[in-house]
Amino acid sequence: MTGSTAILASMAAHLLAAGGIAMPRIDYTAILPELILLGGMLVLVLVSSLSPRPLPTEAYATATVGIGIASLVASLVLWRDVSDHGPFTAVARAVNVDGFGVLFLVLVSCILVVAPLLAAGHLRREGVGGCEYYVLALISGSGAMFMATANDLVLIFLALEILSIPLYILAGFDHLRESSGEAAMKYFVLGAFSSAIFVYGIALTYGATGSTNLAQIAAFLARNVVTSDGVLLGGLALLLVGFAFKVAAVPFHMWTPDVYQGSPTPATGFMASMAKAGGFAALLRVFVTTFPTLRGTWQPAIWVIAVLTLVLGAVVALVQSDVKRMLAYSSINHAGFVLLGLQAATARGVAGSVFYLFTYSFLVLGSFAVVSAVGGKGDERHGLERYRGLGRRQPALAVTFAVLLLAQAGAPFTTGFFAKFYVVEAAVSAHSYALAAVAMGTAAVAAFFYLRLVFLMFSDVGRTIPTHEGAATGGTPTDTLEMPSAGGVATLVAAPVAALVEVAEPDPAIVAVSPWVAAGLVLCVATTLVFGVWPQPLVDFAHQATLII
């Protein structure tokens, strides 16, 4: 390694001889949310190293929630900056702080507030507590943030790696379970492969346009007509392949079911929300703002990928008997819906995609948290049969899951309905009628397997399992979850949490739900229902996601 050090030193000396280094002026406020995450991560590592006794996992979860809230505040401050003074670029034009990017900063911060709550119960139960899970989540979140605000292909690639590498480790976090290691291995190998393809795409794009800066590429393509465009189109195709791998779009989805199934369940939820948020943010930005002149070329490709993703995700999910696998295929179907907005390539389409990602993140985090709880110790019991009669045993948990599943199916009065509505509307207004029809068809197919699970939970067939109704509910009626009518704010928050909490496992059929997980689930359900009934604030928010087209 000393050889490479010598080379680097000699290169630095050459740089010096060539006439100095142009130092970029770094506007630290523009990347403050990312810095908060990384700084908080370092503090967590330091605290865990220096504390004489291992701290409980809940302490780290609390700290991570705090860091998430801090970055949420910083993101909102940036958002106000952008809406007051307009978008701006920073750090040698590598970071683009616009409405679109800031919206994703907010989304990633929200995920980092909810995800630690949902993971704490699992980590305690499996005895793998410690700062590592939270540290990796924070690093991954900072990568997703950089992806969303990156204005340079090189930064997008770096951010992609910062996003992905912690996810590979999280997939293998449950190191005593063989399937977890297998998932990590598969994810790592395929992810590294797709990153390599992505880099090659960057190289070809650079070769064709002479820049890696997104704005400069767009300007070059606007000014010039590339007559022999093989290199450019090759680069575009490879970039698309790299992104499609990350967001699990067909035909680059092969890793998804295995990795989602094998990973520790809260990590699956985190991975699904974070990788999709970061991946789609960069995908939308690169294709809609950088290559609008090539729209005629890439739109058909996206059309095909979207149709395949929608159909395969919905149809294959039908025949799954493992809930995690089913949700994995359903997440592929969701990716197809987000692609509708990209295919439209209009401001409305982008806003629809952003809205979809916002709602989807909470749904998928909450769903996998329920699956984690029901899976029980060992994180292994994920068969569909396990859910039979859950509504009798633990009504609050079952209602929570039902709400999240129905929202994923696109039921009215949930955010899922509006999410699907806006992307389909965008597709229709962009005259992609066939694609919109396919999307609605697959939504109907997908509704079947969501509803099947809901019916299974509330079916009475499984009477063989003894029921302990008093112990299961904690005495609170389940409808407090949906319609908290009277009482102060404290009751409003506390009652659903109390209804969900299950301290011990009095018999094998009843699963423990820690207060942390319950709180996280209440957050997920609350966003789903509140914005499902009253979506206007979130819609207005998503329409701030203006990319300069």
Binding site: S4, A6, M11, L46, L50, L176
Partner: protein
């Protein structure tokens, strides 16, 4: 082609490395006497005749040492070029390097806290309920049968 001149040292180093590796292999083939016996070809195990196949999985702690190496290696790789152009980078460079070095140092602290430098008898970094105290026999048995790993 003038811009490629700066790559000359890299090219020379590359050729030298290849030449050294190639020469070593060729010289060893040419000069060393080749008289293999079955004892020589057996796997080396501290001079003891191997009684059974080595287990597929055993506690290797060298990966932690490797991690420490990587930390210092990466740190040095960035410190050298920084030191060469220290004057140009000024205070900004100094602050950035301190931040970077602090991050690298924290990771070292983390490793040490997790027992990377504790040699001697194996101390479990964190209590793992499903594994009993590890002996040679239990390791071999556990790996051999695949059982005993489930909680």
């Amino acid at each position: 082609m003038g811009s490629l001149d700066s790559y000359l040292p890299i090219f020379v180093l590359f050729v030298l490395a290849l030449a050294f590796a190639g020469l070593s292999i060729v010289a060893s083939k040419l000069l060393a006497p080749q008289r293999p016996t079955s004892a020589k070809e057996a796997p080396y195990e501290c001079g003891i005749v191997p009684a059974n196949e080595p287990p597929q999985r055993f506690p290797v702690r060298f990966y932690l040492v490797a991690m420490i190496f990587v930390i210092f290696d990466i740190e040095v790789i960035f410190l050298f070029p920084w030191a060469v152009v220290y004057d140009q980078l000024g205070r900004f460079g100094l602050v950035e390097v301190i931040v970077f070095a602090a991050a690298a140092f924290f990771s070292l602290l983390y490793l040490v806290a997790n027992g990377a430098l504790d040699w001697g008898p194996v101390r479990r970094v964190r209590p793992v309920s499903s594994l009993q105290s590890r002996t040679t026999a239990s390791t071999v048995r556990r790996v051999g049968t695949g059982s005993g790993e489930a909680a």
